[in-house]
Symmetry: C2
Subunit: 228 residues, 2 copies
Amino acid sequence: MEDLKLNMEAFLPLRDVVFHTLRDAILKGELEPGERLMEIHLANKLGVSRTPIREAIRMLEKEGLAVTIPRRGAQVARMTEKDLEDVLEIRDALDGLAVECACRRMTEETFDKLKDAMNAFLAAVESGDVRTIVEADESFHNVIYEAADNPKLGNIISNLKEQMYRFRYEYVKNDLDYTRLVEEHSQIMDGLKRQDVAYVKEIMHTHLDNQIEAVKELIRKQSEGSRS
Amino acid sequence: MEDLKLNMEAFLPLRDVVFHTLRDAILKGELEPGERLMEIHLANKLGVSRTPIREAIRMLEKEGLAVTIPRRGAQVARMTEKDLEDVLEIRDALDGLAVECACRRMTEETFDKLKDAMNAFLAAVESGDVRTIVEADESFHNVIYEAADNPKLGNIISNLKEQMYRFRYEYVKNDLDYTRLVEEHSQIMDGLKRQDVAYVKEIMHTHLDNQIEAVKELIRKQSEGSRS
DNA sequence: AAAATGTTCTTTGTATACAAAGCTTAGTGC
DNA sequence: GCACTAAGCTTTGTATACAAAGAACATTTT
């Protein structure tokens, strides 16, 4: 934990600002797994009192990013490879559901949005900039979640993604085969257009699967490092 | 909201006691959807200060049971029929996943536990007491979640169940056809034993499906009532 | 009578104070 | 030297105090 800073711009209750600040810090790895979240310490660091810190911690807890033991305080949640596998297993099922729902509920409008997202993705791949590609990829999938028209599903999936983000898995995407990604995306679009649920689920499954091994590989390397 | 009472027995931080108290009250309908959760009010009612109340509210929020608007306070989350459908859709997918995992990971021991749970369920049905039957049914499914060996999955499912509980859907179970339930349970066991993933998923799907319509029916009736 | 304004009351947001639990460490006895 | 105990320190748990936002209501103005 080096230099946490609050973003005071936002006109939100401090608990929310603190929550976002800490969450980002955890996801970026600035706060390491197992690291203690001491209230006074964080309060001083962020220039607020303990009250909003405590509320933020309760939120992090429920989000699965912190673990607290009564009378002993909170820690950044640790995550093992098994935990990651568990998360991926669930994501696989839920991404399947999302694309299935999207398939059944896709409207003209949302399909247009998807086309736009697809074009943006193609442009991003063209540009070659990894950051842009990753963002365009996210957008593409977000359109699908939106089309699935099940907000709770969207929330759960984004929470699961968040938990993966902690492994900085997007770095892996450097090594990804973009042509393949493009191909899969267009297959998904195709399936959605034809409303072929089985097909689209299948593609989505392999689409995710392709990334899993690489991520796991990365985890294994990472876990050789930090231990506390 | 009539008579909230804290259970001071448990040696837990007050925030947790308050959290459980409020959660139960919400699930039982003692705190109605849309009802304001006013801090001082609750604090007086429960005989604690605002601090643990606020922390409990932050937790309820993340659990989806309360919604807060900054500077305006928290309310018990409302739930529409659409929300319920969304939840059920997800549960269906995740129960499918759970049973699939269980199928692949079932050991001798856990299968024995399942047998026990099945026998308990049969005994419960024999007894005819609805409360007992519901509990035995829960236990049976809990063994499966356990066997799935994916704790995060278990958490998500229990959160989803919680959200359904608010509709007091278990009352519906009065009308359920227990012979059918028993039949389905034994089919699930059979499938698990044979490790027939496809079969077991299919059964689990219909198992859930059978309950959905009845629940929705109930919701429709309920929603004619309370409005605020 | 309706709209606008101002005043008061209520309620949330945040900080702080104090109590009690748990750790640490130094000291004591064996 | 090792185990045990006691004192002090650190940190969490809870209550309370105060500030400021928002709601409600009355008053004025048109």
